[in-house]
């Protein structure tokens, strides 16, 4: 079995990065979070618009996103900041969720700690200590079976389904052959090819969950008063040549290969299994929410297949952009990592494209920075909402 060099966590997880995460518990802590992260070497801020006045089911999903992100193996230590007493999701509640990972955690409360200036000072001192503490950790060998590999597509065009996505499916098969796990979300984009997916389901319960997940997403769109065609495919999909949601879906689901689907997950839920194979997750086609749900589920690395060229990059989960559109690669050379357009001109076979993607994933697991990481363009943390603000 092949190995990669990663950061071994107390609970047995292995990270491919070693971040100090500065995490907002609520929208009202965002200012403090950003100020602290500005000061600390290697710190990554995660801010968002949630945490207050949410209905209980919606708050539970937010809590899963935030705690899951902090539990991700790429996070070495966490400082959580909230502003008063956030009902149902205090900084302490989040710390309790994260504690089983054994990683260092500190909490700061802006009101309790004496306002903005005192909170910034306290959190900055925690973060400084954590940054130095985790800087002592060295990369050590770990089997590729420790990798949960997420895959996403966005700003798709006709090349996506024909080159970057199937190449990714083949890369996923190479990882699965090494004992790894591949996770695909975006159940909106399974619509029209449920049978293709249920044929791979390892059990009838998984097959039923796949069909029910698509129906649930379709019903939610209809309940908004619009059918799903209003937003899927998106305008840029159609400009790229994709005509219907079915066409988009077939291209999209080719991001996974032929291995069995062995678990169906709710949004931002960590797998309960460690067996190699394909995993699927309920969630929207909205890219930032989707990749954030996969980071919260524990994915250390993600491939983002794109036709038109996409800027998405998650703050703590390296996001490798892969395209089959040579024009997009040329135009977005500082942003898109891998070009597999040679498939169309017979320069490479699809199998070779799969190997190219796999090799890039392996390099990034060993510490190679993606283009967007090098630019610190950490634009894609977003939390899926399942209820209104009250």
């Amino acid at each position: 079995m092949s190995h990669f060099m990663g950061f071994h966590r107390p609970n047995g997880d292995v990270g491919i990065r070693n971040h100090v995460l500065i995490l907002s518990g609520t929208v009202y802590a965002n200012g403090v979070v950003e100020r602290v992260a500005d000061t600390i070497h290697g710190a990554v801020p995660i801010t968002h618009a949630n945490g207050r006045c949410q209905v209980a089911p919606d708050l539970r999903v937010t809590r899963r996103f935030l705690a899951g992100t902090a539990m991700n193996p790429n996070v070495g230590a966490v400082v959580i900041i909230d502003h008063f007493k956030e009902e149902g999701m205090t900084a302490e509640d989040l710390a309790d969720d994260i504690a089983p990972t054994g990683k260092p955690i500190a909490t700061v409360n802006i009101r309790g700690d004496g306002g903005f200036i005192s909170a910034v000072e306290k959190a900055t001192r925690y973060a400084q200590d954590f940054a130095r503490l985790i800087s002592l950790e060295q990369r050590e060998a770990a089997p590729l079976s420790k990798i949960l590999f997420g895959t996403e597509c966005g700003t798709s065009d006709t090349t996506s389904g024909l080159a970057s996505n199937p190449a990714n499916g083949l890369a996923g098969e190479l990882l699965i052959a090494q004992g790894g796990r591949l996770l695909m979300a975006e159940c909106t984009e399974w619509m029209g090819c449920e049978n293709w997916l249920t044929d791979k389901a390892a059990s009838p319960a998984i097959a039923e969950a796949i069909v029910a997940g698509v129906q649930h997403m379709e019903a939610r769109a209809l309940a908004s008063g619009e059918d799903i065609r209003g937003s899927q495919p998106t305008g840029d999909n159609m400009a790229g040549g994709l005509t219907t949601i079915e066409e988009k879906s077939m291209g999209a689901v080719k991001k996974i290969g032929d291995s069995a689907i062995i678990e169906y997950l709710e949004i931002a839920e960590a797998p309960s299994k460690t067996d190699s194979g394909n995993y699927v997750m309920y969630g929207p086609g909205m890219g930032a929410e989707s990749i954030s749900s996969m980071a919260a589920a524990g994915c250390q690395v993600l491939t983002f297949c794109t036709g038109g060229g996409h800027t998405s990059n998650h703050p703590i989960m390296p996001t490798i952009k892969v395209t089959g559109n040579r024009g997009s690669f040329e135009l977005m050379r500082d942003t898109v990592d891998v070009d597999v357009s040679g498939v169309f001109t017979d320069e490479i076979t699809l199998a070779e494209a799969g190997q190219i993607v796999f090799d890039e994933v392996e390099r990034v697991c060993n510490g190679y920075l993606t283009k967007s990481e090098a630019l610190r363009d950490n634009n894609s943390f977003a939390i899926h909402r399942v209820g209104p603000s009250i």
């Binding site: 006709t158 024909l162 029209g192 090819c193 799903i228 065609r229 219907t244 291209g251």
Partner: protein, 103 residues
């Protein structure tokens, strides 16, 4: 001669992934249908689809060997195939309303 890419042998559309196509161009197929040749009846932009054979209104449009929707009107071999002449069969709130109204 221009070339389009055909993913699956039973497909009735090909995709212009190698070069854009102009009206009147002779078009051959890479991939699974090297036997087919059509004359473009419209400009086909990069990434867009061309009909490889006549597709009657209501018939299924096939790519990846699977349905990507139904023809809204009669489509001739060589026509541009896109949102103006194909509709999705999924996510259709209007069809659900019509079915409910006719009950």
């Amino acid at each position: 001669m221009k070339t389009v890419f055909v993913v699956y042998a039973t497909d009735n559309v090909g995709t212009a992934v190698l070069e854009p196509i102009q009206t009147g161009d002779h078009v051959s197929c890479n991939g699974e249908r090297s036997d087919l040749e059509v004359i473009a009846q419209a400009d086909i932009a990069y990434g867009h689809k061309i009909a490889l054979m006549d597709i009657a209104a209501g018939d299924t449009v096939l790519k990846y060997g699977l349905s990507i929707g139904s023809a809204l009107s009669d489509i001739k071999a060589g026509d541009h195939v896109h949102t103006h002449n194909v509709e999705s069969n999924r996510g259709r709130g209007d069809l659900a309303e019509r079915a409910a109204a006719s009950e």
